[in-house]
């Protein structure tokens, strides 16, 4: 695979489809701004397309994540993030009472809030694990930290959420 050039559309597409969704999610968890996450993802991959001759297949992933990280640092001043998640759970009961639906909605807002309030480092790792179902090893590779650090951040995130959820209940 190493000699496959990224300038080949097929190779580039494969790399794109493999890493772009993860990169987008990662950026979104980081900055909480959908449009910014999308633009940054596109810009990072445009740069990869432009520099396809100097980057090879193996280093492509590292290249886009690094580029996106730098772009994000340049453009956004750290601010309070507000993430929005929806539940993909299927509607099991069609005749739910309005109270129940309202309760569900409130609960979702509360969990959204709790996650948004997590420190950035914990939030990114926690969501990559819970939503993207990435393994600790994969998360470690994406962020560039050790597996132990991932474990620690997940643990801390759970701990923080647990404290908040005592109120949610």
């Amino acid at each position: 695979m190493a000699d496959f050039s990224l300038c080949e559309e097929q190779v580039y597409s494969k790399v794109f489809l493999e890493y772009a969704p993860t990169l987008f999610n990662y950026l979104y968890y980081k900055c909480g701004n959908e449009a910014l996450a999308k633009d940054t993802t596109q810009e990072a991959f445009l740069k990869l397309w432009l520099h396809c001759k100097t980057v090879n297949y193996k280093t492509a992933k590292g290249y886009v994540f690094k580029t996106a990280n730098n772009l994000l640092l340049n453009t956004y001043a750290k601010q309070k993030v507000q993430l929005k998640f929806t539940s993909i759970k299927k509607q099991e009961h069609t005749n739910e009472s309005p109270e129940f639906i309202l309760q569900e909605k409130e609960l979702r807002e509360e969990i959204n809030q709790a996650i948004s309030d997590l420190p950035e480092k914990q939030r990114v790792v926690f969501l990559l694990s819970r939503i993207d179902k990435k393994t600790y090893k994969e998360i470690a590779a994406i962020i560039g930290i050790s597996k132990q650090a991932v474990e620690k951040r997940i643990y801390n995130a759970l701990d923080s959420l647990r404290k908040v959820s005592a109120n949610i209940k």
């Binding site: 489809l17 539940s87 647990r162």
Partner: protein, 306 residues
């Protein structure tokens, strides 16, 4: 809450039953389970990767450069949309891919590795997976270098013995049928209308090209395919003949029991499918020719219509 492996195992659902039971006893389990449940089916904003990929690939590189420069200078103002349509460029790419695909379809063996032996010469070939092939004289063997990665498949004319490394299915394709194995030693002999396979170790599956007849043979058994539709299988205590003429059946019986057989008033070109064992001549004759009478006179067997 203690920082430990168990917690992470639980979170990643890689726990066994005992560990789970133990974990459930923890005082904080309820709270953790509630968080787990709430975060289980969360979904972030949707991201249309295909659309973005299309946009990127549909933009000329010069336009990207300009676009990126503008962005770097003027952060505040959103950059102008990249030009999406590039008819000439797109056409060229499309044409190139069509050529590529057609080329691939019509010349699948352009990467073929080829071996051939002349009369009186034989050659030992080691295949990419470590399997060994002894190619006998006047034989010809090819395999695809690239397609080998997907499936172990060789094309053979002539005769060869294979010692196949264990792994995925190993296929020998010939003009008269195919031989499939997993890992074993066997000999394949093939000429214009005849395929003969001798299995020395393990199991081998032999079939004709459209797989209408198929047989698995084991060690020291042989299978032959004639004309892509007749099949002869010689096992230790059994002979199986499919779509074979009566004359050929008689020949096989003569060889197996070392006797002389003569047919009287029977069309020996008629084709039959029979199966006979090697222990008892009378039983074998009855199973081979249930519709005929077999009489033993002297050292000879006569077969007549009933």
């Amino acid at each position: 809450m203690i920082q430990d492996e168990l917690l992470h195992k639980w979170l990643n659902q890689s726990m066994n039953k005992e560990e789970l039971a133990e974990f459930r006893k923890r005082p904080e389990y309820e709270e953790l389970a509630a968080i787990y449940k709430k975060t289980e089916d969360l979904q972030g904003p949707t991201f249309d990767a295909n659309l973005m990929l299309k946009e990127i690939l549909g933009t000329e590189k010069e336009a990207i450069k300009e676009n990126l420069n503008i962005r770097n200078i003027e952060e505040a103002e959103p950059a102008s949309k990249p030009i999406k349509k590039m008819p000439v460029w797109m056409k060229l790419v499309t044409a190139a891919s069509v050529v590529f695909v057609l080329g691939y379809l019509f010349f699948p063996q352009s990467d073929a590795v080829e071996f051939a032996t002349n009369a009186g010469k034989s050659e030992t070939i080691t295949l990419p997976d470590g399997s060994v092939c002894d190619l006998q004289e006047n034989s010809h063997l090819t395999y695809g270098k690239k397609s080998w990665l997907g499936k172990r498949e060789v094309h053979l004319r002539g005769s060869a013995t294979f010692k196949v490394e264990k792994g995925s299915t190993f296929t020998v394709l010939t003009a008269n049928g195919k031989v499939e194995v997993l890992g074993t030693i066997f000999t394949v002999e093939v000429n214009d209308d005849f395929l003969n396979v001798l299995c020395s170790e393990g199991k081998v599956s032999v079939s004709n090209l459209n797989e209408s007849i198929k047989q698995i043979i084991t060690a020291n058994e042989t299978a032959s395919i004639i004309d892509n539709r007749q099949m002869l299988i010689k096992q230790k205590n059994n002979t199986k003949l499919e779509n074979v003429s009566i004359a050929k059946i008689i020949e096989e019986l003569e060889q197996t029991f070392k006797i002389k057989v003569e047919a009287k008033g029977i069309d020996v070109n008629e084709e039959m499918t029979v199966n006979f064992q090697h222990k008892d001549l009378d039983v074998a004759l009855k199973t081979a020719f249930p519709n005929f009478n077999a009489n033993k006179i002297g050292g000879k067997v006569f077969i007549q219509p009933k």
